[in-house]
Amino acid sequence: LVSLLQALKSLRYCLYRKIELMTQQKVAIIGAGPAGLQSAISLAEMGFLVQIFEKEERSGGHLAHWHLLFPDMQPASEVLDALMQQALHPNIDIITGAEITTIKHFGGKWKLTNCDSMDYQADALIVASGFKLFNAGQKEEYGHGIYPSVVTSDELEALFNHQRQWPFNEKLKSPKIGLVHCVGSRDAKCGNLYCSKVCCVTAVKQAIELKKIFPAAQVYSFYMDMRMFGLGYEELYQQAQVDYKVQFIRGRLSEASPADYGRIQVKAEDTLMGRPLKLTLDMLVLMVGMTPSVVLSNGGLSVELKTQNIKAGFVKMSNGALGGSLRMKSGLFVTGACKGPATLPDVINDAKATALETRKYLKGVL
């Protein structure tokens, strides 16, 4: 009986969609991370039909494999579940495993295509493709991918989520763990001159989480500046330093080399002391920065979504301090972290604002 009811429900839903489809304006969104989901939710609530394309097999973006969020230690799954719940709105449809390669403006509509010759048309398009994590292997001197004890901040989240094995013996009484800031950020050698903004506070959060799991651990954080820009971040930093006894050492790690028993020896200049420093660690965590996920290369009205290359840069917006998400007058919007490094609340707010701009555009009042 339940399945019959469900079948009826979905039939009614199909009919409802059919009728609506003929009258409602459609918005296509590329990316089902927090930015894509939130702009879809806001637009669906305003009555528009939203089609999301997600290249991964599941929605949620990077949020889907994060453990806790700074600065309040809120579980990432709680936030994602809330978004997914709202995204069940009848006006929203999500196609996963669909990577869009070309977008074209033609006859007043945006045409989206991918390699599988899939074709979709919409009245407005929002690019919410987010960011890519910096490939730590590019910083060869840190040995990621060579020494198993060197992990990225993203892999540490997987450890917190019990999706990986600790690279050292868990029974170790006081493991020594180092966190390196600015891996792939503020580094001309990597082609990234910018600050990725969220890694400092993420390192502080991860240091605290590590101390909660291994209370006797010795945790060291190698930083150049502590960029604690948000409300509650500086307080979290102080908490890490005073209550959790995390040692903050000012100086960029020069290299990591193998030591006995799979351990890692690191060298850095302790710039507060003006002296070189060395230390052997059981695990080294690289705080990888954010890099652009797509490049929008405009040629006429056709825009190709290429993957990033060095110095590609995030999607540039032209409105300066006035902000906004409109990239092309013909209804192409860009939202979230594909415009540059951003925190989750930044992204959510940006997505809500983008939805309003899109509505204005569709109503012809932009």
């Binding site: 006894k245 302790d270 002391m273 060395k278 230390l279």
Partner: protein, 107 residues
């Protein structure tokens, strides 16, 4: 003929080796004056230090020396303090510097 210098000399080992066991006195120093852990090495204490101009005393560096386990060096440098307390008035993190430095000098 006098000794000729060839332009370089070898100093004592300057490197900091954090693999060495931390001295036991360090924990008791923090226990007696927990606010020492609050230091963010901003340098305000050194900027206002009356003794600093003539002795090179920089309190925040004593704190760094302590956290790196270099207590002997720290204690020696702490002796330069006149205990005037200006540093404490200016410390943005509310470190009880006078008490801290007194403990340091006594080590």
């Amino acid at each position: 003929m006098s000794n000729r210098s060839f332009g370089y000399s070898v100093s004592e080992l300057r490197g900091i080796n954090l693999d060495l066991e931390m001295p036991v006195e360090l924990e008791s120093l923090y226990l007696k004056e927990p606010s020492l852990r609050n230091c963010i090495a901003c340098g305000n204490c050194a900027a206002v230090c009356s003794a600093g101009n003539y002795t090179g005393l920089q309190f925040y560096r004593l704190n760094v020396l302590a956290s790196r386990g270099l207590l002997r060096e720290m204690a020696k440098k702490a002796e330069a303090c006149m205990l005037c307390g200006k540093c404490q008035m200016t410390c943005p993190r509310g470190v009880n510097i006078r008490h801290g430095i007194l403990l340091m000098a006594q080590l």
